[in-house]
Amino acid sequence: MKKQVDKYQQISVAWRFYVVVALIVLVYAGLLARSAYIQIVEPDMLKKQGDMRSLRTTAHTVQRGSIVDRNGRELAISVPVETVWADPKIVMENKALEMKKHWQALADVLGRDVNKLTARIIKNPRKRFVYVERKVSPAMANYIKELKIPGVHLRKESKRYYPSGESSAHVVGFTNVDDKGIEGVERVYDQLLTGVDGNKKYRKDAKGRKIEILSEKTSTQPKDITLSIDQRIQAIAYKELKGAVKAFKATSGSVVVTNVNTGEILALVNSPSFNPNNRRNTAIHRFRNRAITDFYEPGSTLKPLTALTALEFGSAKANSIIDTNPGWMRLGGRRVSDPINRGKLSITDILVHSSNMGTTKLALSVPKEYLLDKFFDAGFGEETGIGLVGESSGIMHDRQRWSKFELATLSWGHGVASTPLQLARFYSTLANGGVKKPLTIIKNGTLDTLPIADERIFSRQSSQEIVEMLEDVVNDHTPNAKVDGYRVGGKTGTAIKAFAGGYGNDYVGLFAGMAPISNPEIVVVVVINEPGGDLYHGGEVASPVFSRVMKGALRVLNIAPDAKRVAENQADSNKKTLNKTNIKKEQADV
């Protein structure tokens, strides 16, 4: 029995054993084959599936750099905003339109009509992309996100704001839809203002946390641009200019304010201007930065240059007397005349009365080449170095033949055309004791640009003499231009506008001047183009603007009054009360 069992067992064990072994081997071989297949022959599919579930890439968008004024006030700033878009196909597939309340809420928050909104989206149900609203605020975007309407999505975009609005629109310029600068500083420094976007490839876990950064392309931050503009002065200048252009029914106007010592432009405004935050339906001519693109004959504002040239050459001294009798003369068949015979005039008188006879005699007292050289040296016919797009260099003919009459017209600022900026540059040179500096729109020391060397073009003494004469011009002849408490110097100009073939009936009123005369700091140039009312003379239309802008600028820059009258008053009131002094002190601190 036992033997039988053993035999039976033996047979059965051997048979079953092999079957089991074979099965197990088969199972493992199958597993091995499968894993080999997955691992070696076709690993890509599973890798792809895994990556689809865990691998993500985010873009790190860099905002465009800011443009700030010299005190750090923002003139242009980029803010990320969200754009709402819809995928009509998904909207239709999910029957999202049945969520009436949600659509109503969406329309309400966007301030739209719900029927028009939905009609726009289902107009073409096979489309995959329709803008619902561009550039909405983050708060609005969150609300829309919470509505969770299938097929309505958000996309990040960047919006450029110009907080200073109209007043700085021309200088700062603007960008197009793609955030590229197309005007003004935005365009010139586009490369510096544009950063490079980075991105990040990472693995996320089931809860959406980033657990492994696989690769990272670091973004490059853009540079901020600091302008030399002082927005406070800019705002004052724009307000005054806009008022004057409106009051005198002028076509346009420009004001330039410069810092004499550094060549920095403190304000540069034009009227009419535009709203850079909403440029829809704006006439093209409003975009023009007239202070640098448009040139006018500067008229009598150039007479100081003629006088200065004569002083420099030595053909006249500051105390010379010029005989303008009989008040007119003929030059090559053309007539030069003053309104009345003013007789013998000092150089100061010539400037005060703006005598054409006087400047003609001064101009003809120096050699032709010398006179022309000084006009070129003063920067007429060349760019000012500001580097903005569209700058014109005016008209200053470089030719061999100049008739005496042409030289005479040049002496009172005709036959030459300059932009308001060029005129500001000449007056800055004059106020700076004859040292010509390139004008700049960028605050000194903020960008590593190569400094252009200063150039002495007039002697300190003659420049000083002319500056003091200009003070007399304001005191005796242009009371409109005075600023209480300060010694101010300047010169009016009125030019008849030239067009192809002659002169018309339109005028340009100009005023250029500087203050304080004791140590000039600021130059202000005002140009009022084609005043349409009864007043058109530079002394009537431009000098009141000059006075107010100068007053504001001196106040903002905290420049001490230098007029004598003030010093006396000061002594008087100092005696009065101590109490009062404290109050003023606080104000001075502010």
């Binding site: 980029s78 980033k210 950064i213 927005q231 001490a560 000061q570 003023k584």
Partner: protein, 97 residues
């Protein structure tokens, strides 16, 4: 209960291998632990970075708000209208040096 002598003998003979085995296990667990730690740190770093970006956006919006509220001319007109302030004229100005 003591282990049989031959097992002891076996352990003693292969003590070095057992030691290595222990190290392998330890290192395996430390890899797991530090990977976990790394992931946690990465994720909290990313959270902070996101927070920074959001703060940057908020800062930009606040700048905008500030510049519109602190506009020079707005303040001037408010000072004149609401507080009845006015600019001192030349004669009432005292300069302290």
């Amino acid at each position: 209960m003591t282990l049989p002598a031959e097992i002891w003998y076996d352990i003693q003979r292969h003590i070095f291998i057992y030691f290595l085995l222990l190290l392998v296990v330890l290192s395996a667990f430390s890899v797991i632990y530090f990977t976990h730690l790394n992931r946690q740190t990465t994720s909290s770093l990313e959270v902070l970075l996101t927070e920074r970006d959001e703060l940057d956006i908020e800062w930009r919006n606040l700048l905008l708000e500030q510049s519109s509220l602190a506009e020079h001319s707005t303040i001037e007109s408010k000072a004149e209208k609401l507080l009845q302030m006015k600019r001192p004229n030349v004669n009432s100005e005292i300069i302290i040096k």
